[in-house]
């Protein structure tokens, strides 16, 4: 791969930003499974497997799943964050395979956040 210049950094930033904000990336929804050591130990892999299975079954192409590090609230792992385009992210906690399947159907496909498993809506203070 080519060596990066500062201009490349800016280009990558702009390009990736749209995926992050789900604006132009062609995706409607993004599901992040938090896979730090704590998440994995609590069973995050099971969530990932279930999600990939649900996506395959539903035959949707505008939903991406991704992994990330510890979400901070280790006591409530496994956790996942669901973000639908033009909606604030929703964090879910104390999940398992069945629960993430339910969330996938209700929130990701249906568009209605599943209040019973939701911990919090919005993003954290970072500045």
């Amino acid at each position: 791969m080519a060596r990066l210049t500062i201009d490349d950094l800016k280009k990558i930033k702009e390009k990736q930003k749209s995926t992050f904000a789900l604006r132009e990336g062609g995706y409607r929804a993004k599901i992040t499974v938090h896979m730090g050591t704590c998440g994995i130990a609590a069973g995050a892999r099971e969530l990932m497997t279930a999600l990939l299975d649900e996506i395959a079954q539903a035959k949707v192409e505008d939903v991406i799943t991704t992994t990330s590090g510890c979400a901070g609230l280790c006591a409530r792992e496994p956790m996942a964050t669901v973000e639908i385009m033009n909606k604030p992210p929703v964090k879910y906690g104390d999940l398992n395979g069945d629960r993430i399947r339910e969330i996938f159907k209700e929130h990701v496909l249906g568009g209605n956040p599943l209040e019973k498993y939701a911990l919090v809506v919005g993003s954290e203070t970072t500045y």
Partner: protein, 612 residues
């Protein structure tokens, strides 16, 4: 002081920051200044209310008017309409959505509300194995600035001005450390990262390396430029496999994309780094021992001076920074020293990451502004005790080098200076919360077991002294404590502190000193009354059932592994002392608080326990 007539609450949540809060804030500040309104209108950054899709958002008080999708271009118009002409700026007014979510927002939940993420800015947001996602969140922009627009002196000045202090525990000013090393003349210098996190209960550094490995690498590139190093090493313990894997992936990606190696980002600066796996010896977190370990020698500290800034790894000038320190170098360069100082206190600037563990409800990783009251961390963010019926007793800070802060001091602000005054230390950020069922002598013993084990053996006071102290503590917890033990422990502590070479020995007695300082009565009741009031030390406790409180529910009877409890329905239960092994199971199983912990019973014919 001028009277503030309006507060502008700008959202500083990740979503709004990404869509432009910092730029809009700067533009607003400038516009208010220009119009002469800066003294009466104050901008405050706040947490997220869940309007991320409409960001950046701003709430204007006292009117309570909500603006959305702010842009730099709209700022002059907004200021003119709202603050000069006094009417809401229609164009950006927030329109109420049809259906409101009933899920709480970040500001509704204390765990999230009190946190500000700088070190953990990418926590749970990016894929740690994706360089592009790191770049999307301003990644390597600070390195680009440092390499192309700043001199070594500029970087050092910025870091010095920010006031950031080493997050490994000692709190030495990072900028000063870099300045010393930059002034050393040598053909080779090293930039090192300390990922040898070893305190029991601490997992901040692991989480940072796992969640955001590039933030550490970027900090190292900037540091390397500042001191003039061309090589770097990240020292991580091998028992952090996921952190090692993700760091290695990040390093490989950086090399491939020209962010490490020759002429980084097309500049004339070259720097490369590698990972060195530590075997998990606690002493290797000490800088000189860590460097010896990288050299392939047995990890043992050496006297300083010479300090590593002059003679470090391979006798070359070296800087060793903690993971958490390095992870926040990039935002400091990017946003400036003044931005960094907006949080924290005068002498403890910025934020600190803590790993909350123990008897606390919200076990987790939190980042808070320095100076926040300890109470807020324990009760609001931490959610109080895991078992609501139990009272908070103490919080252990600083691991084996630290101490316990009792309930009476829970209102102190968390800064380097205030924590040290209590006899604990800020340390690397482990906070082990203990409830009333904790025996403080056993707690001190636990930490001494750790340090006695981990002492490298070089200095006799540390090697033998910690062992002697551990034996004394063991005696006390087993009913063999003697008059004067407390004083002997204190004397020995002072000697070990005074005569040990490195931080391990110099701080190993802290857990003992601080527990004696706040809980001397517990030591005394162990020694004089053979009574461990928490019922932890088996040889120093006995259990009995208070008849009036017993509801004869049978919970203890079923829980007892010794079948030492007798009773039937409606008849208060009783413990047969001859069978009881003081395992405390009945105490934990009783919902009515009917089980009482008393002093040891002298049930055998031998010499009464403790008489020597």
């Amino acid at each position: 002081m001028e009277k503030i007539r309006a507060n502008l609450l700008m959202c500083a949540g990740t979503g709004c920051v990404a869509s432009g809060t910092p730029k809009v804030k700067a533009a607003l500040q400038e516009e208010l200044q220009k119009r002469g309104l800066a003294d009466e209108i104050k901008i405050v950054l706040t947490g997220c209310n869940g309007f991320c899709a409409e960001g950046p958002v701003m709430l204007v008080y006292p009117e309570g008017i909500f603006y959305q999708k702010l842009t730099v271009d709209e700022v002059p118009k907004l200021v003119e309409e709202h603050f000069l002409k006094g009417r809401p700026y229609e164009k950006l007014l927030y329109k109420e959505p049809e259906k409101k979510l009933s899920i709480p927002t970040m500001n509704d939940i204390p765990f999230f509300k009190h946190q500000v993420l700088r070190v953990l800015r990418n926590k749970g947001l990016i894929d740690p194995e994706s360089l592009d996602e790191y770049i999307a969140r301003d990644g390597y922009m600070a390195a680009a600035m440092a390499l192309t627009q700043m001199t070594s002196a500029d970087i050092i000045k910025c870091i010095k001005d920010s006031g950031i202090r080493g997050r490994g525990g000692a709190g030495f000013p990072t900028g000063l450390k870099w300045e010393f090393a930059s002034k050393s003349q040598a053909d080779q210098k090293y930039m090192l990262c300390n990922g040898d996190e070893g305190d029991p209960g601490a997992f901040m550094d692991r989480s940072v390396m796992e969640a955001d490995p590039h933030s550490v690498i970027e900090g190292m590139i900037i540091g390397a430029k500042a001191i003039g190093a061309s090589k770097g090493v990240i020292y991580v313990r091998a028992e952090y496999p996921l952190a090692v894997k993700r760091l290695q992936k990040a390093i490989d990606d950086c090399r491939e994309r020209g962010l490490l190696g020759q002429n980084i980002l097309g500049s004339d600066f070259s720097f490369d780094l590698e990972i060195y796996l530590g075997a998990g010896a606690f002493v290797c977190g000490e800088e000189t021992a860590l460097m010896r370990s990288i050299e392939g020698k047995r990890g043992m500290p050496r006297p300083r001076p010479p300090f590593p800034a002059h003679k470090g790894l391979w006798d070359k000038p070296s800087v060793l920074n903690n993971v958490e320190t390095l992870a926040q170098i990039a935002p400091i360069i990017l946003h400036g020293a003044d931005w960094y100082k907006t949080l924290g206190t005068e002498k403890s600037t910025g934020t600190k990451v803590f790993a909350l563990t123990g008897d606390i409800k919200n076990v987790g990783l939190v980042e808070v502004p320095m100076g926040i009251p300890l109470r807020t961390i324990i009760y609001d963010i931490g959610g109080g005790m895991k078992n609501k019926k139990k009272k908070f007793k103490a919080v252990q800070m600083g691991g084996p080098s630290g101490g316990c802060i009792p309930e009476s001091l829970i209102d102190i602000p968390v800064t380097y200076e205030d924590v040290v005054k209590t006899g604990a230390i800020m340390g690397s950020g482990g906070m082990v919360v203990m409830d009333e069922d904790t025996c403080m002598v056993s707690t001190a013993k636990f930490f001494l077991e750790f340090t006695a084990d981990e002492s490298c053996g070089k200095c006799t006071p540390c090697r033998v002294g910690t062992r002697v102290m551990l034996d004394m503590l063991t005696d006390i917890t087993e009913g063999l404590g003697k008059d004067g033990d407390i004083e002997r422990l204190q004397d020995l502590s002072r000697d070990i502190i005074a005569t040990s070479l490195c931080g391990l020995g110099q701080t190993a007695p802290n857990p003992i000193l601080s527990t004696i300082r706040y809980f001397q009565d517990e030591y005394e009741s162990h020694i004089n009354e053979h009574w461990c009031k928490a019922g932890i030390c088996r040889k120093l406790s006995s259990f009995s059932i208070t008849e009036d409180l017993c509801k004869a529910c049978g919970a203890c009877l079923r829980a007892c592994p010794q079948k030492a409890i007798v009773g039937e329905k409606k008849v208060p239960h009783r413990i047969i002392q001859e069978l009881c092994i003081q395992c405390r199971t009945c105490y934990d199983s009783c919902k009515f608080g009917a089980i009482k912990i008393g002093p040891a019973l002298r049930k055998d014919k031998k010499e009464p326990a403790g008489k020597v």
